[in-house]
């Protein structure tokens, strides 16, 4: 979550004080992202330094009202249209765990998959509780929670696919006691 751009978005409505920015940030992200007031003022200072916001004048920071500049408006418009980095981290921990489970003697990979599937579904249940308890017209909260639910659902779907794929595949690990392969296995490669 980009706090600077969220603050610019809130200031694009009208000039606001720091405390109001903090409370509006939290309520509009469904109270899922807590933000302390110190973070708000530090971010506003940086935005002011970069010419993206300006204030009414000097004095106590809590009395200052911040307003977005034309540069700030352009920065916000650019950010909204710039795709986030969608390339996943190259070494996803869960993928590595499943690959390693294939190589560890005496480990049932399907049991490992099920443990992670259950955990993901339990976290999804908690997010769904948030949605169920909220008013149906609380769109901000629904959007935030949906994003998490779809991310977690993708994990469950990957685990489901891995489960089916591994069931179809005969075990490739050599029986215990045979000569070790001179080539590293894929799991060894990713964990090195």
């Amino acid at each position: 979550m980009s706090v600077p751009h969220a603050l610019l978005a809130l200031l694009s409505e009208e000039p606001k004080h720091g405390l109001r920015l903090q409370s509006e940030f939290e309520s509009r992200t469904g109270d899922v992202w807590p933000l302390n007031v110190g973070q708000v003022y530090t971010t506003l200072q940086r935005l002011e330094r970069d010419g993206l916001v300006e204030t009414d004048g000097d004095g106590d920071r809590s009395r200052k009202r911040y307003r977005i500049t034309s540069d700030g408006g352009r920065e916000l418009a650019d950010w909204l249209r710039t795709p986030p980095d969608l390339v996943p981290p190259p070494r996803d921990e869960l993928v590595i765990k499943v690959l390693v489970a294939l190589e560890v003697p005496g480990t049932d990979v399907h049991e490992v998959i099920q443990i992670h599937r259950r955990h993901a579904v339990e976290v999804m249940q908690r997010y769904t509780q948030v949605k169920a308890a909220a008013a149906e017209d609380d769109v901000s909260l629904a959007l935030v929670v949906d994003a998490e639910l779809f991310r977690l659902e993708a994990i469950v779907r990957w685990l489901d696919a891995a489960d089916v794929r591994l069931k179809r595949q005969p075990p490739t690990r050599p029986p215990a006691g045979s000569e070790p392969s001179p080539q590293p296995t894929p799991a060894e490669e990713v964990t090195q």
Binding site: A120, Q129, E153
Partner: protein, 241 residues
Amino acid sequence: MTSALEMRQVSKVYGAGPGEVTALSKVDLAVERGELVAVMGPSGSGKSTLLTIAGSLEEPSSGQVLVDGVDLAAVSRSDRATMRRRSIGYVFQDFNLLPGLTAVENVTLPLELDGVRARAARVAGLEALEELGVADRADRYPDELSGGERQRVAIARAIVADRGLLLADEPTGALDSVNGEGVMRLLRAATRRGVAGVVVTHEAQLASWADRVVFLRDGRVVDQTIAPPGPESLLAAGESR
């Protein structure tokens, strides 16, 4: 306390000899009134078989099925049919509404088959449609309703006249995710009013509306979720990041 549904060591085997297929193997499952349970599993895991046996549409090869404490195998075929009409409601993936009947007639059909007079049945049917927010569509035919409205009518038919057990097989059908969520909200609301619900699905997002998720693999219950802690635990996790 008597469970609304209890399955004890239920197995189902189709065919015999080399062609024998075990669809369910020693399944234990208890569902209480007020509880929504999701059964999750891949294609061929036995989900739909579990549901048809729970609803007495099919008999198990071995094991017991008790609905409100009554062992289905211990009652006559006609008593079982009566139980099916009075105690169990079904929601199917493809709605299964009869096209020649209006919304309220679809809802009241099981009551009338059970000998309830038309007038009393209509009152109960309208109440169920009211609960689902589609009472104003009572006299419309299925082809005059939207997909979401048809599904609401199907749920109304499943809960009409205080049925205690609601069984749903992929109940969101081809609805998009937001409308599918609406269906899950309705099923959850029905269970909060005291119905026991079992939803079969392969979708984790739909299953996450349940109080408990049971995982089925190759006809066996392999795992289930533990009652999740409250949503505040998510905020705590976010703060520690």
